[in-house]
């Protein structure tokens, strides 16, 4: 039932916000904050209660909700949570709180509708992480789309409509490919077993010839690859991230991209392990290219927010690499990277957004020497920039190191290329600090340093990154049973496929 609460609080909260805003905008904001905090507390409680490792290992799902929806078509309203989704759901609500707080003073018009969209996009994301029935999964996938479109198109910056439409088209088209694949899987399963079902655990193990599997997998893969994003499908990301408002960027970078990673972990490899294995040389090479290309391009930007946006391309290249390497070390690294990247890039967007609110520009040429006037914001920005370039002791390093360690076992060349990508990340990290915060204050800015509200957002994020960097054990322990299940499922399927080979 708690799973229904997760989504329900957000949906209901959104509508309440919309209505409340007719009378009072502050009330609306407080409702939104309350809803996200409530959900966050609930998810933490669930985590703490389920933490004992043996408990995590015994059951496949920690909690489930399974209702009939259209039983004749095999569609059920089935939500389920395991270690992997639990961590992602906690991240979702945390970043939800962050985005509500970050938009406290930034959004002035249409406050009610804004928070409706914000909370509904979070609901969609939660749905994606929790759905285990493929129809419901697709439903939640599409549910994420429309509110996000509005968030970018209405409250964004100068080229917001272009960015929003681009985002929408990319994601919608790739989602359609995924729909075709889902239906194909549905049909194939029916022709093999005579049962119509969209249920994930039943669709695992559907056997099909390799070339069919490759096509069906590609449909899923492209949807997730666009979301992740993978080069060459990444070009929607810089525009969407740059033109969105702060909350929009935080949710985009911190959560939406992770849904792509989640989809690859949960669906692509376990459902089609043989096809994924066949595809992995291509995927891993593209991932390595993405890591380096994203970093170099980030280095070349003059718009501060666009620089941060390209760093996401680079970081999630690591995750893609890890998923298609599919060994224990790399997958654990991928999870840490997912969480750490969500926090560090989310924080960078909050800081850049705060900066934009103060100086009304994102161009680095108009900045310089900001450390003189806003030392604490600059110090925080330096911290998260260092996290982004993989400074040991912080979360991103742990993730990237484990991924590279795992990748090295599979391919030395890929590991070396990715390590060069880490070197390249130094370039953009230092440029970020140098151009904006160091140097002399030629434009004579005199700005207000961090507000209390911003400190409330940033301080916990610093603590979390340090915690992930120095003491990642609890997080890893939560993830490992889920990871083992996924690996077992994929392995079983793969062995069945191999046995079927002549």
């Amino acid at each position: 039932m708690i799973l229904i609460w997760f989504i329900g609080i957000l949906l209901a909260g959104g509508i309440a916000c919309w209505i409340a805003a007719r009378w009072s905008a502050p009330v609306c904001r407080w409702i939104a904050l309350g809803a996200t905090i409530a959900d966050f507390v609930l998810s933490l409680a669930l985590w703490v209660r389920s933490y004992p490792v043996n408990l995590l290992q015994q059951q496949e799902w920690l909690r489930q909700v399974n209702w009939n929806w259209f039983p004749d078509a095999g569609i059920h309203f089935h939500l389920a949570i395991d270690g992997l989704s639990l961590l992602l759901v906690v991240l979702t609500f945390f970043l939800g709180i962050v985005s509500v707080l970050a938009s406290w003073t930034e959004i002035r018009e249409g406050v009610g509708f804004f928070h409706l969209n914000l909370l509904w996009v979070l609901a969609g994301i939660t749905g994606v992480f929790l759905a285990v029935d493929l129809f419901l999964f697709y439903f939640a996938w599409e549910l994420m789309l429309i509110p996000m479109y509005f968030l970018i198109a209405i409250w964004g910056h100068e080229r917001r409509v272009y960015a929003a439409v681009k985002f929408f088209l990319f994601t919608q088209l790739s989602g359609l490919l995924m729909l075709i694949s889902i239906l194909a899987l549905y049909m194939i399963h029916h022709s093999a077993t005579g049962v119509y079902t969209f249920e994930y655990s039943e669709l695992i193990g559907t056997s099909m010839p390799l070339h069919t599997a490759i096509w069906v997998m590609l449909g899923f893969f492209i949807a997730f690859a666009v979301k992740l994003p993978m080069v060459p499908f990444h070009t929607w990301l810089p525009d969407a991230h740059t033109e969105a408002s702060t909350a929009g960027s935080v949710i985009l970078a911190g959560l939406l991209l992770k849904t792509g990673a989640y989809g690859l972990l949960r669906f692509v490899v376990p459902l089609f392990p043989a096809a994924a294995h066949w595809f992995s040389p291509i995927a891993t090479v593209l991932a390595a290219i993405g890591i380096i290309y994203g970093a170099v391009l980030a280095f070349g930007q003059t718009d501060l927010k666009r620089l941060v946006a390209y760093t996401s391309v680079s970081h999630l290249g690591f995750v893609l690499l890890a998923i298609f390497v599919w060994n224990k070390l790399a997958l654990e690294g991928a999870l840490i990277t997912i969480i750490a990247h969500g926090i560090s890039t989310g924080a960078l967007f909050v800081l850049v957004g705060g900066l934009q609110e103060r100086i009304h520009t994102r161009e680095m040429d108009r900045m310089g020497g900001l450390w003189h006037t806003i030392p604490r914001l600059s110090g925080a920005a330096m911290f998260f920039a260092m996290a982004s370039i993989g400074l040991p002791g912080l979360g991103d390093f742990v993730g990237e190191f484990l991924i590279l360690l795992g990748t090295y076992k599979v391919s030395v060349g890929l590991a070396v290329a990715a390590a060069i990508g880490v070197l390249a990340s130094t370039l953009y990290g230092l440029k970020f600090i140098q151009r904006a915060f160091h140097g002399s204050n030629v434009h004579h800015w005199e700005l207000h340093d961090l507000f209390a509200r911003e400190v409330v957002i940033i301080a916990p994020m610093i603590v979390i990154l340090l915690w992930l960097g120095l003491f990642p054990r609890p997080v890893l322990n939560t993830f490992v049973p889920a990871m083992q299940k996924l690996q077992e499922q994929a392995a079983r399927q793969y062995q069945a496929y191999e046995r079927g080979q002549p």
Binding site: K166, V231, P232, H234, T235, P238, V296, L297, F299, G300, Q301, T302, K328, L329, E332, G369, W371, H372, P375, G379, M386, L391, P392, G393, V398, F401, L402, L404, L405, Y408, K409, A415, V416, A419, I420, V422, L423, T426, L427, L430, Q434, F437, H438, G439, S440, N441, L470, F471, P472, R473, L476
Partner: protein, 630 residues
């Protein structure tokens, strides 16, 4: 008492946190006390631990303390753990002690600066990272300290961030050392993949069992680690960042770029000496790099005008000596030289800092003069440390350590005459360039009046370090003075002894004698060229060849130029050219095509009735045709 080891990095780290968060609001006094005091506490604890270690050595001369388990992931385990043996004890003692003296010095040096608490915060974080690096029991924790010192180096070089030149120097340092770090991290992957662990003692044990001497995998692992060491220690070919790093405050240069961070590479090689011993080609490379670097940097030091840049090249050169020692297997000689170098080089920098502040922030030695009468304590400090650097016989520490290295270069089975001669030429160069600075800046006519002469906080550390620069060599008395190698004996519990063999007729005494002769020759040349007749060097640099050589050596033998053309310019060009991402052009193309189709198709909606009627008629005809014919 050895359990106190964990406090040595912890105290400076917490001091860093305190200063970083509350520093701007604290009084100067409080910041000084906390900033310098924390390092002092660390130094005291190091002393206690060292005394305890030597007087009541633990089993097997090693002590292991695990603070907590960092990661344990599917076969990969790394702890936050500290390993104490003779090597780390010596390193930690020297590091914390010298750091403490430098912090005390900084309380006066940085007193006029508005970033006072920020400075001490960064310096404390640096010491914490360096100590972590040295005490780490596994390569991953060592790498954490490694990157930590790199970060602090970046922050401190670019401390006066208003000037973009400082920022550029800081970035250059960070990026060049990170190139080395990337090599090192790939080495870590290799080591874990083949040996299954990153725990230092464990991996060295497994390496000796699994890898035969000269195995390709051992060579690869050692070479990759060497890459990291070369970057951090500013050796060929990654030495280009150190001279520019002099943009930072002088105490920073003293601590980071003389006494500690740049010796991290030396420490790494000494710590993983087993791997290097298993890879003779790499050992040779280490020695050759050391020899080449010491010569190259020595030549460059001769041409510099900025007092700090001379010292920077001098550091590169002296670390070349340490690499030379490592490469021929004289492990303890390298650590001995590290110790003496830490003392006299830090002192050189501190004295240089006093000179700079006394001369209205002037760095050019040719604009100074006559300082020996005006700031006597500083003069004596500089003179003593300069002599130690050059190797004044018997009464300076540098003489003993350098002598030991050169003797090792000659007599070790992996050494040879060529390396010894390189070291000898280096001695001549060293003597020449340092006495050049002394004679030009301290003797002769005073040009700039002294302001801000150093007071107690600056003078006291200089005096202490002077004493150490004189006496620190006496812990290792060579064969012709009684052969009491106390330091080496302690180090031999952790590092292997270098084998000695007789080559030709040169014994240790002869070696020392020839070295002394080189030292004296350099001193005399400097005296002739720079004191007696001040523009004696003018004819040398006036003619075309002389000028070309001078420029070449001044520009660090052209490395900067080559790197800029080969690496920096292409990446920057690509990033700028591809700013809007050429891949996006494809999607813009798709959008353009669909817009074109829209325009084409909308032409059929002409709005004219006759056109519509005509299309109906046409369609009907086609349809009837199809039905009738097909």
């Amino acid at each position: 008492m050895l359990e106190l080891t964990g406090l040595i990095p912890a105290i400076p780290f917490f001091s860093f946190l305190l200063l970083a968060i509350f520093g701007p609001r604290m009084a100067r006094r409080a910041v000084s006390i906390i900033g310098a005091g924390s390092i002092g506490a660390s130094a005291v604890i190091s002393g206690i631990v060292t005394a305890s270690f030597i007087s009541a050595p633990p089993a097997d001369w090693s002590y292991h303390q695990v603070i907590w388990q960092w990661m344990s992931v599917s076969g990969f385990q790394a702890d936050i753990g500290f390993y104490l043996d003779a090597l780390s004890v010596v390193m930690v003692l020297v590091i914390t002690f010298v750091a403490f003296l430098i912090h005390v010095y900084s309380t006066e040096y940085m007193e006029g600066d508005e970033g006072y608490s920020r400075f001490f915060a960064y310096m404390n974080l640096f010491v914490a990272s360096m100590v972590t690096l040295v005490l780490a029991d596994n390569l991953l924790l060592l790498y954490l300290g490694w990157e930590g010192v790199g970060l602090c180096s970046y922050l401190l070089i670019g401390f006066w961030y208003s000037d973009p030149v400082n920022g550029r120097a800081a970035r250059k340092a960070f990026i060049v050392t990170r190139v080395g770090d990337t090599s090192m991290v790939i080495g870590l992957f290799l080591i874990f993949d083949r040996l299954g662990t990153l725990n230092l003692q464990e991996l060295m044990h497994r390496a000796t069992l699994q890898w035969p001497v000269g195995a390709a995998v051992a060579v690869a692992a050692a070479a990759l680690l060497l890459g990291g060491a070369v970057g951090k220690s500013a050796q060929l070919p990654l030495q280009t960042w150190l001279p520019d790093a002099m943009a930072g405050p002088t105490p920073t240069s003293a601590l980071i770029h003389a006494a500690t961070m740049v010796t991290a590479g030396v420490y790494l090689i000494a710590r993983t000496h087993v791997l290097f011993s298993l890879a003779p080609p790499v050992m040779l490379a280490v020695a050759v790099i050391g020899a080449a670097t010491l010569l190259l940097a020595g030549c460059s030091a001769l041409t510099q005008r900025d007092i700090k840049r001379v010292l920077a090249y001098s550091t590169i050169s002296q670390i070349g000596y340490m690499f030379l020692a490592l490469g021929v297997g004289a492990w303890s000689a390298a650590i001995f030289h590290f110790m003496t170098h830490a003392f006299f080089k830090a002192l050189l920098f501190l004295a240089a800092g006093a000179v700079i502040q006394a001369q209205h922030e002037e760095h050019d030695i040719f604009k100074m003069g006559g300082l020996r009468r005006m700031i006597p304590i500083t003069f004596w400090a500089f003179l003593i440390s300069g002599c130690a650097l050059a190797g004044l016989p018997l009464i300076t520490a540098g003489f003993y350590s350098k002598g030991m290295i050169l003797w090792g270069a000659w007599s070790s089975p992996q050494g040879g005459p060529a390396l010894w001669i390189a070291g000898l030429v280096g001695v001549l160069l060293t003597s020449l360039y340092i006495f050049r600075v002394i004679f030009v800046a301290f003797f002769g006519q005073a040009q700039i009046p002294v302001e801000h002469p150093p007071r107690l906080a600056k003078n006291l550390p200089m005096v202490v370090l002077s004493a150490l620069s004189i006496g620190a060599g006496w812990v290792n008395l060579p064969s012709y003075l009684g052969n009491k190698l106390w330091l080496n004996d302690v180090l031999y519990t952790a590092l292997p002894k270098v084998a000695e063999r007789q080559v030709g007729w040169i014994t240790e005494d002869w070696s020392e004698g020839i070295i002394t002769a080189a030292f004296a020759l350099g001193l005399l040349l400097a005296y002739e060229l720079y004191l007696r007749r001040r523009d004696a060097t003018r004819p040398l640099t006036e003619n075309a060849l002389g000028r070309a050589i001078h420029e070449f050596w001044y520009a660090d033998w052209g490395f900067d130029f080559v790197y800029d053309k080969l690496f920096v310019a292409p990446v920057v060009w690509f990033a700028q050219v591809d700013k809007s991402d050429f891949i996006d052009k494809f999607y813009d193309g798709v959008a353009a095509v669909s817009r074109a189709c829209y325009r084409a198709l909308s032409a059929t909606e002409s709005g004219r009735m006759r056109w519509y009627a005509a299309s109906i008629v046409g369609g009907t005809v086609v349809f009837i045709f199809i039905v009738l014919v097909l």
